[in-house]
């Protein structure tokens, strides 16, 4: 599964002194201020932070949909110049095509790549089952609930099997139960098919459960407040061997959760001042 080149673990994504200013130079709004962040190959990085701190902006730049005012965004040591087949995005607003059925939305990326119809069918079938969308294959997005639409959007990105998966609050519209299932599924998926994931969330628990590292951001201006390593804790406490609801009960887990919570609270207080 893993090609030789992926064995090296140089940075997959690198933000170097990335600033983003909206509006003109004088009266501009600083959405991001000299952000430095590297994401290693097959690493799972979660980004948390108050609304408007520039999480989506950061991700759009990695996707090649937006560009920094100053600084560099590199993917595999190459300047990002636009979207590429190596990166897929799950959008905060789902961004499904209302005129395509569930199946055609999920298979869109494969179709764009010129995959054979039989392959598209096989892959979409797999993700329809995984996302529990059976029976809705021919429905249009507006006929689905918000949570179902979100699962279609996730399936669409999984289906192209990208090296880098950029997810903007991908589970935000799901009910608590489906959310748990999806989180476990994502962990499972990353194990079978390791890839680099940047994952934006408002849920601290979700970040602690999923991430190797958590990036805590603050706003005004948008910046990184702290980067927390979770991976070593997960490995030493063997979270991977337990079901999610038990992990969330572990003392190591709740400690980590509280730590991130406190950081978030502090950033809010400092920006309020």
């Amino acid at each position: 599964m893993i090609s030789p080149s992926t064995a090296t673990s140089g940075p997959d994504i690198a933000f170097r002194k990335v600033s983003k200013v909206y509006g003109n130079a004088e009266g501009g709004f600083v959405a991001l201020d000299k952000v430095d962040l590297t994401v290693s190959r097959h690493e799972f990085v979660a980004i948390v932070g108050p609304s408007g701190c520039g999480k989506t902006t950061l991700m759009r730049m990695a996707a090649g949909l937006d560009f920094p005012t100053s600084g560099d965004v590199l993917v595999r040591d190459r300047q990002v110049e636009g979207p590429g087949p190596d990166r897929a995005v799950v959008f905060q607003q789902f961004a499904l095509m209302p005129w395509k059925t569930v199946r055609d939305n999920i298979g869109f990326g494969l179709k764009c790549r010129g995959a054979a119809p039989s392959e598209i069918k096989q892959v979409t079938d797999r993700y329809i089952t995984m996302m529990r969308l059976q029976g809705h294959e021919s429905a249009f997005p507006h006929q689905l609930s918000g949570g179902m639409q979100q699962r279609v959007a996730i399936a669409r990105s999984y289906a192209v099997d990208p090296d880098v998966l950029l997810m903007d609050e991908p589970f935000g519209a799901l009910d608590a139960q489906t959310r748990l299932v999806m989180q476990e599924e994502l962990v499972q998926l990353s194990r079978v098919n390791p890839r680099t994931v940047v994952f934006i969330t408002h849920s601290v628990e979700e970040a602690v459960f999923l991430a190797d590292r958590i990036v805590v951001m603050g706003r005004n201006p948008g910046r990184i407040v702290e980067i927390i390593d979770v991976k070593s804790l997960r490995l030493s406490e063997r979270w991977d061997e337990l079901p999610i609801e038990e992990v969330m009960d572990l003392e190591s887990f709740t400690h980590m959760r509280t730590r991130v919570w406190k950081l978030l609270k502090d950033t809010k207080r400092s920006t309020a001042a």
């Binding site: 090649g64 499904l96 005129w99 395509k100 990326g109 764009c112 790549r113 959007a153």
Partner: protein, 269 residues
């Protein structure tokens, strides 16, 4: 209101239910008032407005013996053909130009100023020039109909393309869509509702313009029937021709609506 809309959309099997029970009732009341006013009550003289009997006789006359140079079928077919031809050509060119301007800023910069200059000229103002250029035959009418239908097609298509949801475009891009795939799978379907709005306006403009052009001068057609009936002081025939235009307009609009529903299955239910 919401109920009326729902009632109108229902009736999947067979003919769509166009008229509700209340609508039919008010229509019958108008017919009754008409019969009373021109008949027993004698409120309107036969030289100003026809009675139902006059109307009926005019209908029989034009269907069986013909009027103003042809039977009803000839006249209607003549007008319908011009409208359909003008409409199809205008939609194709109008939607095409709208897409081109919407997709290419360069094309828009090049064409839009000229278009903005021509756009305020009412189609009917082109009739004299069209007659000078093409004479009283079909060519002049097709030209004017084309112009009338072209303008709303262009404007609405352009608006539709400009209104495409940026996030959906981005989503298509990050999942590997090429430029032509973006146009085919995102821009056109997203603009389709506005494109059809434009087409409906275009179709309306086609009928208005055709009748006006035929009134000014024509050898055949429903406008010619109207003009001749006016000169003959034949209110029965005038009204009959007007009703024909109404039915043709409604019929073609219904056809377009059917096409619209077929073209956008996702807007249903």
């Amino acid at each position: 209101m919401a109920q009326a809309v729902r009632a109108g959309r229902r009736g999947r099997a067979g003919m769509p239910q166009v008229v509700s029970r209340g609508g039919l009732l008010s229509f019958l009341v108008v017919l009754g008032l008409w019969a009373l006013a021109t008949g027993p009550l004698d409120l309107v003289g036969p030289a100003r407005f026809p009675s139902p009997a006059d109307f009926w006789q005019s209908g029989v006359q034009i269907v069986t013996r013909g009027y103003a140079g042809g039977t009803l079928l000839t006249q209607v077919w003549h007008s319908l053909r011009l409208v359909l031809f003008g409409f199809v050509v205008a939609s194709a060119t109008g939607v095409g130009l709208g897409l081109l301007m919407g997709l290419s800023p360069r094309a828009e910069k090049l064409i839009n100023p000229t278009f903005l200059l021509l756009r305020p000229i009412p189609p009917l103002a082109w009739i004299p020039l069209a007659i000078l250029w093409f004479g009283l035959g079909d060519a002049a009418k097709i030209f004017v109909i084309w112009y009338a239908a072209f303008v709303p097609s262009v404007i609405n298509t352009l608006t539709g393309v400009r209104g495409v949801d940026r996030t959906i475009l981005s989503a298509a891009e990050v999942h590997g869509a090429s430029r032509s795939q973006l146009v085919r799978d995102v821009v056109i379907p997203a603009a389709l509702p506005m494109i059809f709005t434009g087409l409906r306006l275009s179709l309306q403009a086609c009928w208005t313009t055709l009748v006006a052009a035929e009134l000014v001068g024509a050898f055949f057609g429903i406008g010619r029937v109207l003009m001749t009936a006016s000169q003959d002081v034949n209110p029965g025939m005038i009204l009959f021709a007007m009703v024909c235009v109404a039915i043709l307009g409604a019929g073609t609009t219904w056809l377009l609506g059917t096409l619209e529903r077929r073209a956008m299955p996702w807007r249903q239910a």
